[in-house]
């Protein structure tokens, strides 16, 4: 971690100097943290249609990331202005549009973007953003309809079950591609992982693979959804840490928010936020 941090710091310093010089942002020499405090608002980007992290419910933007953003803003004495955005083809698009450059039609970037995987290569490949503040450990799990499906069987035995999955995701590649593609014909595709879990909960499907947060959020006490206890074999990915990103000239903002994030995790407020959405908070694995 420390190696990543120091490299990140160096990249941020170089990038920050360039940004100031080339772009000529007005007031580029004022500290970004001071600027946020001066305007009294922290603009925060969250993914659109991303239950349980950020989604519209009864006309309101809600979710774990929204609540964390509010708390982070409060902790530095400002108000959060949380905006949802449509995911691009990958994180590089999202970081460019929401963190360091703005969109091609002219919407400016936000001060902060939530739910950015904390990954060394992602940071190196996107050196105009600073990725920091890990707050959760995510991975993939399997959920089943307890009335119809034994969730602990080797996955090839799910053949003939009504499978459902978020389209164009790792779980999709897993169910549609693994085991020689033997499950492919049984897979129904939906727009989000939350929709997939909801289909299992309503009895419209027998099993899904989704993120742990999506699964736990979709489970209700005594409901149909059960989570596989064992590992999902050959799922391609062991899990990843989730953090945030700021622009490369805003290292002091990242440092301050990272400190506040640690405090929010440390004193149990993070656990409480996750619990509101039925999700168990898992500490990021720092290596």
């Amino acid at each position: 971690m420390s190696a990543i941090l120091s490299r990140r710091g160096a990249l941020a310093a170089i990038g920050g100097a360039l940004a100031g010089a080339v772009i000529g942002v007005p007031g580029a020499w004022a500290s970004p943290l001071d600027k946020v405090k001066a305007k009294g608002i922290l603009t925060v980007a969250v993914y659109k249609d991303y239950e349980p992290w950020s989604w519209m419910a009864e006309g309101r933007l809600v979710g774990i990331d929204v609540d964390i953003a509010d708390l982070l803003a409060q902790s530095i004495g400002v108000r959060a202005d949380v905006r949802q955005f449509l995911a691009g083809d990958d994180l590089a698009d999202d970081l460019r549009n929401m963190v360091w450059k703005g969109t091609v039609v002219g919407a400016p970037p936000c001060d902060l973007m939530m739910h950015v995987p904390v990954d060394r290569q992602l940071q190196i490949d996107n050196d105009r953003a600073v990725i920091a503040g890990p707050y959760y450990r995510e991975n993939f799990g399997m959920a089943c309809n307890r009335e119809t499906t034994d969730c602990e069987v080797p996955p090839p035995q799910l053949k003939g079950k009504r499978l459902v999955v978020e389209t164009a995701s790792i779980p999709d590649m897993y169910l549609s591609g693994a085991f020689g593609g033997s499950l492919r014909g049984d897979v129904r595709h939906v727009y989000t992982g939350a929709d997939a879990v909801a289909a299992v909960a309503s009895g419209d499907a027998d099993a899904t693979v989704a993120t742990r947060a999506q699964i736990e959020h979709g489970m209700t006490p005594g409901g149909r959804v059960i989570e596989r206890k064992g590992m999902v074999p050959l799922i391609f990915n062991p899990g990843w840490n989730v953090g945030f990103a700021v622009r490369d000239d805003s290292r002091d903002l990242a440092d301050e928010l990272e400190k506040q994030m640690a405090a929010i995790i440390g004193d149990g407020r993070m656990k409480a936020i996750f619990a509101r959405y039925g999700v168990v908070h898992r500490d990021p694995i720092l290596s």
Partner: protein, 599 residues
């Protein structure tokens, strides 16, 4: 699968850095306001009629259609400017699109009744006086903040009909303006921009219907071709391009496209790709629309065994009902992002002594196709670029002979083997339209010589979560050039001449009976070539890259040539070696008009 996936939706992503974005709301400084209710439809609208549009290929006093005729041959019978005198051609005027909104200007001008209509980047439409270049009016679509940011900001042109000039916007609206005032007559939502849908093609008008394709949509859309009443904007029919999906006609379900699950596993046909984002052509002889379709999704072909009809194909569609008459699939079971949307141009020629009604397409996959346009029967597929790795050729039935070693592998959790694939997914030819000369019988094809290294990439992220994508690097095949303009004899597939350009070619082509071929270059030139020999006869630097399509017409006894200048499109997005060829090119946004000096 980042870029590849994105290209399903948009081929020409505008690319260069912009800084100092001025922020949120787009001022609608044109006279129209899309949020207002449509104005009443005038009962009789003076202006181009259906018959005028069908006859537009031989009407030398106007440019009434995208493609200069419904068949989009981009051929003019004019000879005033010709191979003997083009060297003397000079600018008549230039008109700036103004503002800070620049990026790629991929539009083709429409010319009618002393006015030049051009669409600009960021969903703008301009009317300029065709004699003086003075701006008459400008319509600036009020683009919402939530518009899909990855999508390109280009627009390829407008359609004219009666009192209307019609174009599509980046937030997936179709807008009909009064061509004299720029005021909105109707404004229809084609699709939900907040789900990533967009619109960049030039619409076409056939038999009183506006006909267009769809583009964008992040999560597994399916392609559609649709027709709306030109006077009201109301939907008449809708035809999905992927088998298993249901069509619509006059508000009711019509017929299913193809046969359910014949070439797709499970429910993948419901989000199988096949977008029709570049629009189509029309052949009055056979009463057929021809629409090319995008590549299938998901990107990794190993997940969707089967031909995946009708992706990477051309569809012949009845404009009256939206029924598919025939199809031909250029790239069955595509695994390289060989989008099939490039224009299919109807033409007539004699093959083996037999006069035939044909059509041709230069595909992303590097092959130049000739089909019988009455029934879709395969005639020939010949390479038009110097290197093709994915297939060794086509058999007599029109099926590609794949090289299985050159198909990217199934997704894995580890970095896979690197496959070198040519052409790259940007294609042997991309969106930029070719031209067919009725004088020489040749097609003039703007092509690019590049390949790509491609490999499975286990550590990528999408929408905040881990993802298995593919990594790739686009590589020029030669040091001294990427772009090549080629003259191809469609009856033999033989290349008659070629012109090499350092930067990739990204603009359309025009040919005339004056033995001329015109096209633009990213270096900023509009160039004229001898149509028979390929000799470069004239060039003029417009100050920014030319990625638009030139047109020509006659006015007050003189012949004019016009083209948009303004660098952008997909090319500047790709780093590495390709970027080196274009890094010194500045942005712009101007209409340039040329003619011969008065004697």
């Amino acid at each position: 699968m980042k870029r590849l996936h994105r290209l399903i939706a948009t081929s020409a992503l505008a690319g260069l850095m912009i800084s100092g974005s001025t922020g949120a709301a787009r001022a609608a400084d044109g006279p129209g306001d899309p949020s207002k209710a449509p104005a009443p439809v005038p009962a009789q609208a003076a202006g181009p009629t259906d018959d005028d549009l069908m006859a537009s290929a031989t009407n030398t006093s106007s440019v009434l259609t995208y493609g200069m005729g419904p068949r989009a041959q981009r051929f003019s019978p004019l000879t005033t400017i010709n191979a003997d005198n083009v060297a003397k051609m000079v600018p008549a005027f230039a008109s700036s699109l103004g503002g800070e909104k620049q990026r790629g200007q991929e539009s083709q001008p429409i010319v009618y009744d002393g006015v030049i209509y051009v669409t600009g980047s960021y969903s703008r439409l301009f009317a300029f006086d065709a004699r003086s270049g003075e701006k008459l009016w400008e319509y600036d679509a009020r683009l919402p903040d939530g518009i899909m940011p990855c999508c390109d900001v280009v627009n390829r042109g407008a359609a004219i009909y009666g009192d209307k000039i019609i174009f599509g916007t980046l937030d997936a609206h179709l807008v009909a303006l009064n061509r004299k005032t720029g005021k909105v007559i109707w404004n229809k939502t084609l699709a939900d921009y907040s789900a990533g849908y967009s619109f960049t093609a030039a619409p076409m008008i056939v038999k009183g219907k506006v006909i267009y394709g769809n583009s964008g949509g992040e999560f597994g859309i399916i392609g559609k071709v649709e027709a709306r009443d030109v006077n009201t904007g109301e939907l008449v029919w809708s035809r999905p391009t992927v088998e298993g999906n249901m069509g619509m006609l006059n508000g009711k379900e019509s017929t299913m496209t193809g046969k359910l699950n014949a070439s797709w596993p499970g429910d993948m046909y419901k989000n199988g790709g096949g977008a029709t984002w570049l629009g189509g052509t029309y052949d009055p002889d056979t009463n057929s629309l021809f629409f090319g379709t995008g590549n299938p999704g998901p990107w990794n072909s190993n997940l969707r065994p089967g031909d995946n009809l009708y992706t990477s194909s051309v569809l012949a569609i009845d404009p009256d009902t939206g029924e598919i008459k025939w199809h031909y699939q250029y790239t069955p079971h595509d695994g390289w992002d060989f989008d099939g949307v490039n224009e299919f141009i109807p033409f007539d020629a004699t093959i083996n002594g037999k006069p035939m009604k044909l059509g041709a397409q230069a595909n992303r996959n590097g092959f130049f196709f000739v089909l019988d346009r009455t029934n879709g029967k395969f005639i020939s597929a010949t390479p038009f670029v110097s290197k093709i790795t994915w297939a060794t050729g086509y058999d007599k039935k029109g099926r590609p002979m794949f090289d299985p070693n050159n198909r990217p592998g199934p997704p894995t959790g580890e970095k896979g083997n690197t496959v070198f694939s040519a052409p790259s997914f940007l294609g042997g030819k991309n969106w930029m339209p070719m031209a067919f000369s009725q004088q020489t019988g040749m097609f003039y094809v703007p092509s690019n010589e590049w390949g790509m290294d491609i490999w499975n990439e286990p550590i990528t992220y999408k929408k905040g979560a881990a993802y298995l994508g593919a990594g790739f690097t686009i590589k020029p095949l030669y040091e001294d050039h990427i772009g090549v303009l080629r003259a191809i004899d469609p009856t033999t597939g033989k290349i008659k001449w070629e012109y090499k350009n350092k930067a990739p070619l990204w603009g359309g082509v025009l040919t005339t009976a004056g033995n001329l071929v015109f096209t633009g270059t990213p270096e900023g030139y509009l160039k004229a070539f001898d149509a028979k020999t390929g000799k470069e006869l004239w060039k003029f630097n417009t100050g920014s890259g030319v990625v638009g399509s030139p047109v020509t017409w006659e006015q007050d006894g003189e012949q004019y040539v016009a083209v948009m200048s303004g660098w952008g499109g997909a090319v500047p997005l790709w780093g590495g070696e390709v970027a080196k060829a274009v890094k010194e090119i500045s942005q712009g946004g101007s209409l340039w008009v040329f003619k011969l000096p008065r004697q």
